[in-house]
Symmetry: C3
Subunit: 347 residues, 3 copies
């Protein structure tokens, strides 16, 4: 991290209730208690690591108000009601320095087709292409090498990073954040089998992404066959996820990396899918349904249920089955012994 | 969808045998019977949804010739031999409006190296790079930010969307469609372990993609170690699929999203792989072999066989095993009871 | 392959101990014994294919010193101590012709922000963006359409192919090779659930990639929450792999395609993960640990252990369990017979 803070800047930022000790080190990193060293700040966010504080080499440590013990020489303790919140404040400040808001304007290298409209406060970096009829909202930032297709609309305060592709007629609301390489609005995967060949079914629907959605690097979202593929407000999607055509994802869902969702499936609000989970098409995951990583969800899941396994079952059932599966050698042995005993007894 | 049609345009397009009712609404969307509203068109493609027609709010409904019942006020029924075919006609028309064929020519921003040849009827969008010795065929469209490496050849009427990368010496036949972020011809993953380090095995083969292949967003196809990685005519590949070096895929195969195929494996014609299926290296999937989603195919599959599970087995066997797996608690109980009974009887 | 060699060039290159026969064909391809034809070179790398040599149609065949038998008319045998090594020499030569080292310099289309530093011997292709404070080392090649974010440092002799994105403040050592579409330094996937919404946890750490790392197409590596995500020296990562925030990968590891590694997990040196394997967060895979393809590794693995299955278990245990699983129909039958017999015997 090339961002740095003086101890005084940290104190001003987190406003500790009490300080112990002192340090002259400039802080240019954050580390866990076990690994942080000189010039870094650490914190006690979870009481179970309390014993690690004494040995920690960080120049500054954020600690809860009731923490006892004294800092080493050249070490500063900051006692504070919520060390985790204080750390988040510091991280936010670093974030602002790492990614300063670019000045509004359009880089002269970018290609803006006639009929595209770009808010005055938007910032368009180099080598972007914005096709005719597209709109870029106020305060939105296209980092570089971004493509926005014909008639697509990007709302306000969005952030589309390098290499993002938003195809024709897709719609993003406000504060949507797309990481590098995200593809929005590629064709759904639909063919009809005619005379030994797969004939393409036109995919003429759209993608709608509601406000406060964040989507991870190289994730792909297909446009609907007709109508819409939808990502609900506040939903967060990790890297390399596949969302097929006509999928409807509710609000505040979490899709971990490499999840795949087949066509026309519905995720209600607050669904959480572990990494590499796969979801069949044309089913519904009820509100707050959850899956473990790698689960293969082949049927609808009632609201609030936690499923796991491949094919996915109720979490506790799958856990029990896995334990019995591992006892198969024992079971075969017991059955063999029963057979032996019966042979003897019937002899 | 910002494309719209008047009712008269729809009637002209689908040529119904009979009409009932009338609407003044401009049609700017397509929806299922259960969800379509005013200003949208819907259709009865499958007789099992017949009961939904009466309640449907769409302004126009495409119906089979034998459909009984009357439209609501302001609603238009179009009776027609094959409502699904009529819908496809409408979708094709929308498709043409969404993606009008660009005018031939080379965007002045693009970099065409000396020695590259581009057909007069090809259309090269902004920020493309076409290296020396590469050829772009007649009617082919590079949307924007596309890279075509040295000596690669792209055939006629292909469509390479934004951010596609075709590396050095790869070959695409005609009407190949590559969605955004596709990478063709990255190095195969091959190393020799020498003195504790992985030494790279040069990957100097090519990729050949036959005609009428479509490849989904962010899918990757590795070049052969030597010789060729091949995708056969008419094969369709979904998003985020991995095809390793020296894989030979036959004609008219279907690879759903996130499938991975290991090196030197052969897929004969008409193979179908469900989403997230994984295929081991150096095996053969016979003509028309199929797998369920998430299957882990570790051995060759005879022609026409349907496999499932991890590791993959014959579909019906795996299904039966899954049912018995779920009955493990019962089996353990039954064995326990047998043991109890034998103890008693031998007592 | 548009690269070609005369037979004399091949002989000069591989320096055979003995030659038999002669050919006038120009060599413009490499093939396996079973498939190579005229104008191609083949080789006997593994003695078990010895019987295929006589039928091989290649114009030149590389053979071990003790090989008996005579070439066909117009065919040249080159007898040599290590045919595989000779083949590797030829491949390296082809590699140099396929990917000639570009001349140093910066393509005039690229955008180099003030404050970026680029070594004189670096080669920057078209449409690259190098932000302020970034550094590109000696001999490094950015192919085209590459993005290097603020303050990132790329070492010497690296090769970043088309469409690679290196976000802000990431660090690559020397001879790092990134295939097209790789994303380095996207945000880690971290949120806190506050009042029914997922609030973003700032991801302000970095990614550090040590020397001699190679990373496959469209793979994504997230930056740390704070501190570092690390890829150790000599590690090789295949296509479409996901490495989450704060993961620490040791030296000389192998991650096959579509592997996913969850946050804060540690891979010690020489770990090997099969394709599509998934690894849970906050665990450690010991030195030299291995997994089969598709394994779901949910707990730490001791050094040197080979695991497989979902959830992953010791390889031989999982293999035994899989065999017993497939014998479940038999086991149910045997238990039914026991029950029958006991009923009879107690009758």
């Amino acid at each position: 991290m090339q961002v740095s803070f003086t101890p005084a800047e940290i104190v001003t930022l987190v406003q500790p209730a009490q300080t112990r000790g002192a340090t002259a080190e400039t802080i240019c990193g954050i580390g866990a208690l076990a690994t942080a060293g000189r010039g870094e700040i650490s914190f006690l966010g979870n009481p179970k690591y309390r014993a690690d504080v004494a040995a920690c080499e960080a120049s500054i440590i954020l600690l809860p108000l009731d923490h006892e013990g004294e800092p080493k020489l050249g070490q500063l303790y900051l006692l504070i009601e919520q060390p985790s919140v204080a750390l988040a404040q510091i991280c936010s400040r670093i974030e602002q320095r790492l990614w300063p808001k670019p000045a509004p304007g359009i880089h002269p290298s970018s290609v803006i087709e006639p009929g595209a409209t770009i808010a005055e406060t938007a910032a368009i970096g180099p080598f972007c292409v914005i096709e005719s009829g597209a709109h870029i909202g106020a305060g939105t930032h296209l980092q570089a090498q971004v493509f926005v297709g014909r008639n697509s609309r990007i709302g306000e305060q969005c952030w589309l990073m390098s290499g993002v592709v938003v195809a024709t007629e897709c719609f993003l609301a406000n504060r949507v954040r797309l990481h590098p390489g995200v593809v929005i609005g590629s064709d759904g995967f639909g063919y009809e089998f005619v005379n030994g060949r797969h004939e393409k079914v036109p995919q003429v629907g759209t993608v709608e992404i509601e406000s406060d959605v964040e989507i991870g690097a190289n994730t792909t979202l297909d446009r609907a066959r007709f109508s819409r593929t939808v990502i609900g407000e506040g939903t967060k999607i990790d890297n390399l996820v596949q969302v097929a055509h006509n999928v409807i994802i509710g609000r505040h869902c979490i899709l971990c990396a490499q999840v795949g969702i087949s066509g026309s499936t519905i995720l209600e609000d607050y669904v959480v899918l572990g990494g590499q989970a796969g979801v069949a098409g044309h089913i519904t995951l009820g509100k707050g349904a959850k899956s473990g990583g790698g689960a293969a969800i082949t049927a609808s899941v009632p609201a609030g249920k936690f499923v796991n396994g491949a094919p996915a079952r109720a979490y506790m059932l799958e856990r029990r089955l896995q334990i019995l599966y591992q006892r198969l050698p024992e079971l075969f042995k017991r059955v063999g012994e029963l057979e032996e005993q019966l042979k003897l007894s019937s002899a």
